[in-house]
Symmetry: C2
Subunit: 366 residues, 2 copies
């Protein structure tokens, strides 16, 4: 039967890199019998411009019914002073929340061919391959009460609430433990339980779940500030990490940057299984909308293309197609092709289009 | 008249490194006419052991009346499962809160002699010298409501509240702008205003204050996740940074680690001026209590000694003594003396005591 994919290119470089992923999809349809129906919709600043909202309810509905969502990126400086609900970012927040996409899987993997692009010394990052599982529908991003109130003297007070329940912590920790079983068998849980009760509960729940069901996995705990340091000092000590929404936001961006090739890194955000054993899922590059280079045709499309590979593997159960893409990406890198973000000093700089075409050619040649 | 200093060595390596700073104080008293009266008290795990509380009220009172507090570090794994109020860390939290120490100044400065200790490439960190101003008495560390409640079904819910008011943001931003005027004239304000209203208010207040009083300083804004990346990618882009309690905790630890020599970095935490134009102030190393090496005599005392130098400069108005210490520290490093934390592969490893003595000898030789 036909797989329904919803494509949400978004803002900035989103549409440019999505176009390359779409080419890959078309190629798979034409040459590998992939049966997909693609629908494309506006989100973020693009949707604000056209519909005065960062995401329309009907797009949320389409996402709910799709087999998977392939997302580009949102964020546009034109809305930087807009009221809260008129921000491009609301699109991704609503998608996560309303589809229940609670586990964001963010691999930080160093591509050997790009070792020199890292700001860290080769001996510190060579072979780096860690996975951060970030909770994405709870914590201080969504807790109530929230808002800005005006005080009697005319000054203001901004409030947000960090909330985590046993159930919310347990389900995301479960994802981390399961992943660890397929990897190096180690989970590091990160919170700030020495000053926050929500962190104390986090640690307690992860510890209990570990004891009850995952004692074959090695579990350690780390405070978030120490973790930020350890990621710089010796990132290869980690296998799988699991943490809340806010810490995960900072730590996973930090971890990605260690690889020196943000433009290469895909991510998956997964929800609960429904009654048919299917998981809601959204795939997106780790990088943002990069408004400074938008429209120049110079963005790196590989994170978007690799996000598509993850989609094929996890949502459409097509591991061979995923591997075909991943090998093609390794191939073009080995050939020395470089977009500006990963180019060394003397390297020629490929355009978005050239990089996409090169991947297609490699796929065809396999 | 006599300066009253309160010494709070704390846990782990705290007492060992404090002992070296005390030697420096005695030397200054004997040779440079420094008129000080030293009082020493227990805090953290040490106080829990002796008095069943992380800090006694009378110690808070002593701190309130001292000219400055020299703090070691707190944290002891023996209390890792203790209830919240029975944690060593509460000592530093209460001191900050009750003395109104709202601005934590954390320099991340690379010592040229230690360039090779950084995990980052020399070309990325050489000459690094940034200053993070972290708010320390507000935000999610202190906001109410907070706690863990049991839900009807027996599961739990952990809550913390992030709160910032105009006044709290303004006073810490002011410290950052003033510092920038004495440095490179640039402030980067960091929040997560795209998802948190408290961050939105943060940005608004910093922007207004800048416009009204500090338009000679260059102000930029950065989201906290991007900031975590930028600190790895190109940390030298920053001069002064100002941010809330929680982001400041992670980002300042990250920034410190970039230097590769955490054991070298001092910090100051300042409160408001009182009616006599005096500021409450606490000085402490950036590193923690390092329980793994406590009692071994191998800890690096330089961060504690440099914290004393900051104390002399900012609280006792003795810049020459501060410089004397700082030159002595540079001197011992130039001589190649290294404690384990900053030693290269073939380097001999000095003990805590040897390092302290070497600093004294350099001071005497100047
Ligand atoms: C766009 C923004 C709301 C989002 C977040 O903070 O979660 C982004 O930074 C991310 O990490 O996916
Ligand atoms: C000890 C702890 C409560 C403290 C904090 O988180 O503020 C420490 O990590 C610091 O940064 O000074």
């Amino acid at each position: 039967d036909t797989h329904q994919l919803l494509l949400l290119p978004g803002d900035g470089i989103g549409p440019e890199i999505m176009a390359q992923a779409v080419k890959v999809l078309h190629w798979l349809r034409d040459h590998r019998g992939l049966n997909v129906e693609l629908t494309e919709e506006l989100v973020g600043g693009a949707s604000l411009k056209a519909h005065d909202t960062p995401i329309r309810d009907e797009v949320i509905e389409q996402a709910r019914h799709a087999d998977a969502v392939l997302f580009g990126s949102v964020g546009d400086p034109a809305w930087k002073d807009a009221p809260f609900e008129k921000r491009p970012e609301v699109a991704i927040l609503r998608l996560r929340k309303e589809l229940g996409l609670y586990a964001n899987l963010r691999p930080a993997k160093l591509f050997d061919a790009l070792l020199s692009a890292s700001a860290l010394k080769p001996e510190v990052v060579r072979g780096l391959d860690l996975m951060i599982v970030r909770e994405t529908v709870g914590g201080v991003y969504f807790g109530e009460p929230r808002g800005i109130e005006t005080l009697p003297d005319g000054t203001k007070r901004g409030v947000n609430t960090e909330v985590y329940t046993t159930a919310e912590i347990e389900r995301v920790a479960r994802v981390a433990f399961e992943l660890a079983r397929q990897r190096d068998g180690r989970v590091c849980s990160v919170e700030k339980g020495n000053v926050m009760e929500s962190g104390l509960l986090w640690r307690e729940v992860v510890t209990s779940l570990h004891k009850a069901e995952y004692s074959d996995v090695t579990l350690t705990h780390m405070l978030a500030d120490n973790c930020a340091m350890q990621l710089v000092r010796d990132p290869r000590q980690f296998d799988v990490m699991v943490t809340g929404n806010l810490f995960g936001d900072l730590l996973s961006d930090l971890a990605s940057m260690l690889t020196g090739s943000l433009g290469m890194l895909p991510s998956a955000t997964l929800g609960a299984e429904n009654e048919h054993g299917k998981r809601a899922a959204l795939y997106e590059p780790i990088h943002g909308s990069a408004p400074d280079i938008a429209g120049k045709g110079s963005a790196n499309p590989l994170a978007q293309i690799l996000s598509l590979a993850m989609l094929l593997r996890y949502s459409l159960n097509r591991p061979e197609d995923a591997e075909l893409i991943e090998r093609a990406v390794s191939g073009v890198l080995a050939d020395g092709l470089r977009t500006a973000d990963i180019a060394g000093e003397g390297d020629a700089r490929a355009t978005t289009e050239q990089m996409g075409e090169a991947v297609l050619k490699k796929m065809a040649a396999q």
